[in-house]
Symmetry: C2
Subunit: 442 residues, 2 copies
């Protein structure tokens, strides 16, 4: 949201905040105060934060206001999913096992944000150990609906204008799904290209950091900070993008609003000048989402939760029990066969992307489901997480209940810059700032 039309500082983008603080037009304290005011007004409904400490946020802001400019995020508040370590705040991972847990160090990503001058505003609610058992966060568009998960608090806080941007993680669909449900941008980079030191693993062969924001500028800004480079936004295309429209084999599981959104986007982008070609994935991709969500995810979950399972089993949720039990029953042979299949598909991707810049694919089954007990189906995101490709959701559409429905763009591995450039082109043609986050009335 542009600063010119924003009514209070918590509605500013990270990019706008950074620019105005650098120009001495704002103080960091003023920004944090407006974020805190928004949180005070809305947190009892949205419940996006854990162990929230306004005094500590203000202290960071005041220290930055007194200090020389640290970097391109000087004074910008950021939310951090609570499975990501912070040395100055508890990291409880949505699990009673880690109540009061105080890590010895910041996660690498948090340290890099602080190095650039960010205020770590607080920790955001995560599903238990970044799995499927939700916290109390609600969807800021409708508190009766899930915000999605497992990066629930990060998505809800950004959508509700409590903070301009937040860190999340994605193992199945834990960044893009909540971003889509909450109506914001969510980005999952190429696997293994952003450091996960200090981030609790869920299934590490597919775990990926991600970030959520209300603009592509902000997604790019965080990307540059987290890959230790000077900001270089915006990435731009030299020509209209070549888009592969791919319904995927689970198209039939999508609700009408998703089909309308993705087909509508394909048509509109074609009219706007993009080359849009229908593509089908090779047969090898059949069942990939189930391998990723089942075999790989459960087996690795059982391994990485070995300590919690043996020492604190009674404190793990029923959902986690099902995952671990399924993983313990998975044979090594099936696990290895699953990876061989995924790698076979990955090797086919250059052919899938032949003469294409990005794929346009469904992101979610539909609007955020009613109820808070289930964070929604991750299948549409999990395919691409397992393939290690970069992906982004854009809040382009709404469903029958007025809730957001995002589309998903996917690029080839290591082609994240092209993804950003295409996303920007797509957003300019079919996006609208009015669709981002909750409206003013709330």
């Amino acid at each position: 949201m542009d600063a010119k039309v924003a009514r209070s500082l918590n509605e500013f983008s990270a990019t706008a905040i950074a620019k105005r603080i650098a120009a001495n037009e704002l103080t960091c304290e003023a920004v944090v105060r407006d974020c805190l005011a928004r949180i005070a007004a809305r947190e009892s409904t949205v419940k996006a934060w854990v162990n929230f400490n306004p005094a500590h946020a203000l202290a960071q802001a005041r220290a930055l206001d007194r200090a020389p400019r640290r970097g391109p995020l000087h004074g910008v508040p950021i939310g951090v999913k609570d499975i990501i370590d912070t040395f100055d705040m508890p990291t409880e991972m949505g699990s009673p096992i880690y109540r009061g847990n105080r890590p010895a160090a910041d996660a690498a990503c948090v340290a890099l944000l602080r190095r650039a001058g960010a205020v770590i505003l607080g920790k955001t609610v995560t599903c238990e150990l970044a799995g499927m058992a939700p916290g109390e966060t609600t969807n800021p568009h409708d508190p009766a609906c899930t915000p999605g998960g497992s990066s629930s608090g990060s998505a809800a806080a950004v959508a509700d204008h409590m903070v301009p941007a937040a860190l999340g993680t994605q193992t199945g669909g834990s960044v893009l799904r909540p971003a889509s449900y909450c109506g914001i941008f969510g980005y999952k980079p190429t696997y293994n290209t952003f450091n996960k030191a200090g981030v609790k693993p869920a299934a590490e062969s597919i775990d990926t950091l991600g970030w959520l924001a209300r603009s592509i500028d902000d997604i790019e800004l965080l990307t540059d900070i987290l890959c230790m480079q000077a900001p270089k936004s915006p990435r731009m295309l030299g020509a209209a993008p070549r888009i592969g429209f791919c319904r995927t084999e689970i198209w039939d599981t999508a609700q009408p609003e998703t089909k309308t959104a993705v087909e509508g986007a394909a048509a509109a982008l074609g009219r706007a000048g993009a080359t849009v070609r229908d593509i089908a994935l090779p047969e090898a991709f059949a069942g990939l989402h189930a391998l990723a969500r089942g075999t790989i995810n459960h087996y690795e979950r059982a391994a990485c939760t070995a300590f919690e399972w043996d020492h604190h089993r009674d404190k793990l949720s029923p959902q986690m029990h099902r995952y671990v039990e399924s993983g313990l029953k998975t044979s090594r042979a099936d696990y290895v066969a699953a990876w061989r299949r995924v790698e076979e598909c990955r090797a086919l991707l250059p052919a899938v992307f032949d003469n294409l810049d990005v794929l346009l694919v469904p992101c979610v089954l539909g609007e955020a489901p009613k109820g808070l007990a289930f964070t929604g189906d991750p299948s549409m995101q999990a395919i691409w997480t397992a393939l290690h490709t970069p992906s982004m959701t854009l809040p382009t559409h709404r469903g029958p209940n007025g809730l957001p429905v995002g589309i998903q763009l996917v690029a080839q591995r290591y082609d994240d810059d092209r993804l950003f450039a295409c996303a920007r082109w797509v957003w300019q043609k079919i996006g609208s700032d009015e669709m981002v986050g909750v409206g003013r009335a709330r």
Copy 2:
């Protein structure tokens, strides 16, 4: 070493210990007492352990002797590299920054070993943050020589018969190089197939757990435990192996003892019935070791050490300063280009392995170098670490100073079972128990 010829229980293999405890022929306490006696006799020279607590080791052993059999490692002592979290012992990572650090949980691998009944005998010395700045460990064959690193204490303790097996990690050559220098078996699995939860990252896109032992049986036993399967040793070949003998482009950097060892092994295996074919790596592989050791390693090190760099820079070693400074100067474009190159090579591996079971390659430049300030050159191991292939070193040879020189076998990704089977065949033909670890006289 077979129990029949071992003089004291610390010389038994993990497999033999487990079998005899299961048959009520031994107590766990007796085994641990012999390990502690060996440590008491030799630790002032070898310096393999950190924060070593004999009382805690004995307490674990007694508890296991009182308890029903927990699993296939019931009563077996294991050493754990000190960058791997333990909930009941400090985890100091070879760095003053983490002095007294007490993790909230066991690493997944440690929890799985305990689940199977292992005694975590203690933590073994690691280079600073699993990098290149060594601790005080010496080579048990000659205390004037490096044991290699960064899994220095794990290799030295196993070679010195202080413990039958130990966990390490490899980012360049941190398992296979110390195993080769100390004259034991060292195994690095296919990347990302063993859980690293609770292990301090160094460069996570290449970080891999590994284990060190004095027999292939023990390597296989730990493998099965850590992949949550019932033990199924030994893997056997149906026919003599097809071996690709690959000198690699850095052959000329090897010392005579390495050339003699690897060429001698190739010839002897051919005489023993293996199909041995000279192969050359495609041109794309040129410079891979430098990309892995330089661009990828330094860039990721700079990211994952962000907290330590910003908060405790004066406590980082000069070696770490050089790595981080090099990483901070590495551009994102160069880093991504390095990964594209590595992946290009990885895609060529099926052709490299055409009609071959394993590659026979150099493991180290030569014997362990004199001095303790440098843990040796990791180039020969780093190529394969970056390619994510499984590899194993076998203590088949000795150099001019009587120090061990291992050979290296490499299999295709996910083909670890074939690697084991080939290693067993190779060991039966050209190995000798006399070559494993330090001799009796010491």
